[in-house]
Symmetry: C2
Subunit: 340 residues, 2 copies
C-alpha cells in the first residue's frame, strides 16, 4: 500500500522525492523506470520500493516535453454509433494494448477541417501518429497532415494513393460480388439504392461491373444523399417496386437500408426473395437473423482495426514500411433474401 496522502496536502510526488527516499539521484530514478536494464539490480529494487512508498507516477507532460517522444495517437472517428467504426476502434485499442501508446479521441462530426480549433488542439499534443476512421477527401486536410510530417493511417478506404498508410477493403470488388451473385441467381431486372456520387458511389460502379460480366447492362438507379436510415430503406423499397414492376432484385448500399426494405416488403405483402430479392452491405450483427436472413457483404471491422493497430506499431517501431497499403478481403454472405 502507498501512503501518498497520509496528510492533507496532496502535493504531487516528483522524481526528486523518490530519489531522496531511495538515496539515489533523480536521473537514476528516471532510468530505473524507463531503462531498467541500465540500472543495477539492487538499485532498481530500492527505487521500486521508494516509488511504491511515495506513490509516485511520472508526469507525462514533463517527460514528453523533455524527451520529445509523444505516446499519444490521435483518432478521428465520425461516429462511434456506427457499429463498424466502433468495432474497428476496439480492434485498434486491442492491438495497442500493452504498448506505450494511448489513444486520444477527436470530437468530430463527419468532416475534419484542417484550420479548425479542434485540429490545432489535437496537434498540440504532437501525436506520434494520426488514425482516421475514413479516407480523407479534403485536399487541405491531406496537405496539412502531410506537412505535419506525422505517420497517418486511413481506415475503411481503398484510395490507391493514401496520405501515408491505409488499411481497408475494396468497395468496388465487394459490390462486384453482389452483381455477380444477382446474375448467377438469375435475376435480370436489378436496382441499386445508395449514393451515386462521391467515393461511396464505387458501390454502384462495382455492382455494374459484376452484372456486366454476365451480360446485364441495365440497372435501375435510385440515389440519396447523407446517411441512410431504416426509414429511407422502407420508402425506397416501395418506390422501386412501384416504379419498376419487373424489378426482381435490389442492392442496398447498407444493411440498415436493406433491413428497412425487408420490413416494408412484409408490410406490403411482397414476398422476399420470391418476388424481389434484397441484398445489403456490412453484415451487421442481426443480418443473419432477419426474416428472411439478409444477403450482404461481410467486412471484418474489428480485424480491420486490429490490422491497423499492428501496422501502426510496426511503423512507429521501425520506421517507414515497404508496404503501406493493406487491402483486406471481403466476402459475400449469400443468405435467404436472394435465394432462388
Amino acid at each position: 500500500m502507498s501512503d501518498k496522502k497520509t496528510d492533507g496536502t496532496s502535493r504531487r510526488v516528483r522524481v526528486e522525492d523518490v530519489a531522496r527516499v531511495a538515496g539515489v539521484s533523480p536521473i537514476t530514478v528516471s532510468r530505473a523506470l524507463s531503462n531498467p536494464e541500465k540500472v543495477k539490480e539492487e538499485t532498481r529494487q530500492r527505487v521500486a520500493e521508494a516509488v511504491a512508498q511515495t506513490g509516485y507516477v511520472v508526469n507525462s507532460f514533463a517527460s514528453t516535453l523533455r524527451s520529445g517522444r509523444s505516446s499519444i495517437i490521435t483518432v478521428f472517428v465520425s461516429s462511434l454509433q456506427n457499429p463498424h467504426y466502433a468495432a474497428s476502434i476496439q480492434g485498434l485499442i486491442d492491438a495497442l494494448e500493452g504498448s506505450r501508446f494511448r489513444l486520444m479521441f477527436a470530437q468530430t462530426g463527419f468532416s475534419v477541417d484542417a484550420d479548425s480549433d479542434l485540429f490545432n488542439s489535437l496537434m498540440s499534443f504532437r501525436p506520434a501518429a494520426v488514425v482516421l476512421s475514413e479516407g480523407v477527401r479534403s485536399e487541405s486536410l491531406r496537405n496539412t497532415l502531410t506537412d505535419f510530417d506525422v505517420p497517418v493511417l486511413e481506415m475503411w478506404d481503398d484510395d490507391p494513393d493514401p496520405i501515408d498508410m491505409l488499411v481497408g477493403f475494396s468497395v468496388a470488388d465487394a459490390s462486384r460480388m453482389v452483381g455477380e451473385h444477382f446474375a448467377e441467381q438469375g435475376f435480370r431486372h436489378v436496382a441499386y439504392f445508395g449514393h451515386s456520387s462521391g467515393r461511396t458511389a464505387e458501390r454502384l460502379t462495382g455492382f455494374r461491373a459484376g452484372l456486366a460480366r454476365h451480360g446485364i447492362d441495365e440497372v435501375y438507379v435510385h440515389s440519396f444523399e447523407g446517411t441512410g436510415t431504416m426509414m429511407m430503406g422502407m420508402s425506397a423499397f416501395e418506390e422501386i417496386v412501384t416504379e419498376h414492376p419487373d424489378c426482381d432484385a435490389i442492392f442496398f448500399a447498407t444493411d440498415l437500408l436493406a433491413t428497412g426494405a425487408l420490413l416494408r416488403a412484409r408490410e406490403m405483402g411482397i414476398d422476399v426473395p420470391g418476388r424481389v430479392a434484397i441484398a445489403g452491405f456490412g453484415d451487421l450483427d442481426y443480418a443473419a437473423h432477419t426474416q428472411p436472413p439478409l444477403t450482404t457483404i461481410h467486412v471484418s471491422a474489428y480485424e480491420l482495426g486490429k490490422d491497423a493497430g499492428q501496422m501502426l506499431l510496426k511503423r512507429l517501431d521501425t520506421g517507414p514500411l515497404p508496404n503501406r497499403r493493406l487491402i483486406r478481403p471481403v466476402r459475400l454472405e449469400a443468405r435467404g433474401s436472394t435465394a432462388r
Copy 2:
C-alpha cells in the same frame, strides 16, 4: 495558407519564432492566444498574422507542464462493441465538443486494476477528470481514484454512494416494471435468465419486487456467468421451456439473450407470445423489428453520456456540485413479444 515547411527542415515552430515575426515578446504571443482580452486589438492582429504565417501550434506538453491545467479527460470503457456504451461515449464526446477538453481512452478489458501499468500510464497525464463506463466495484480502485483527488464520474450505475459523481438509471426500477408488466398481462409462471450474483443481479431483485406487488412470488431462476450471447439465449430458452412446461413468460437480462430466445422459439415451433412471452433489456436498435417485436426496457444511452458530459463540464468549471448523482428515467417498451 501557411508556409510551415517551405524548406526541408520541419523543425517545429515555437512561440519565440512567432514573437519575432510579430515583433513582440513571447509572453505576448502566449497571452494573445489564451487570454486575447488582455492584449490590445492591434497587437492581437499582428500575432494572429504571425501565427498563420509560421503555422504555429502550441505545444500542450509545455503549456500544461507550466500551467498545471491538464485538458485531458480519461475514459475507461470495457467495450466499444457494446452499442450502449458506444452510444454513451458518443454522447460524452458531443457534450464536450467545443470545450477545451480532450478524451483519452483507456485500453481496458472488463476490469481496471489500480496497480496496473495501464492505470499509472493514464494517471501520468494528470487528467482533469476520469470517466468510467461502469460503476467501480473494486475497493482498491475506488481508493486509488479517491486518493488521486481527481473528479470521477461513473456511468451506467446507480450506486447510492458513488466515488464522486454518477449518471445512471435504476436497474431495480426498470426490472420492477417488467415484473409488473408480466403480472398485468396475466402471466403467472414466469422465469428469469441472467446473473444471479453481483451488481447485475439487481435485475432479478427488481423483477421479483414487481411481481410481488401482484401476488406472484415464485420465479424460475436460471443464471449464467460472464457476457451473454445470442447462443446462450437460444439454449436457455430451450432449457427453460423444457424444464418448466407451465412457464408462460421469460425475462432475459439483455436484448441479445432475448433475441436468441425468439430465434430458438421459432425453430422449435413455439408461439411467442401465445405460448411463452419474452422480454429483454436495453432496447437495441433492432428490438422493435424482431418477429414479434421485442418488449424491453429502453435506456437512453446517448443522452446518458451527454448528461455525463454536461455534469462534468459544470464540475470542472465551477467546482464540486451540490447534486452529484443523476438518475435518469427508463421506460418499458411494451411490444408484441409480451402481448396478450
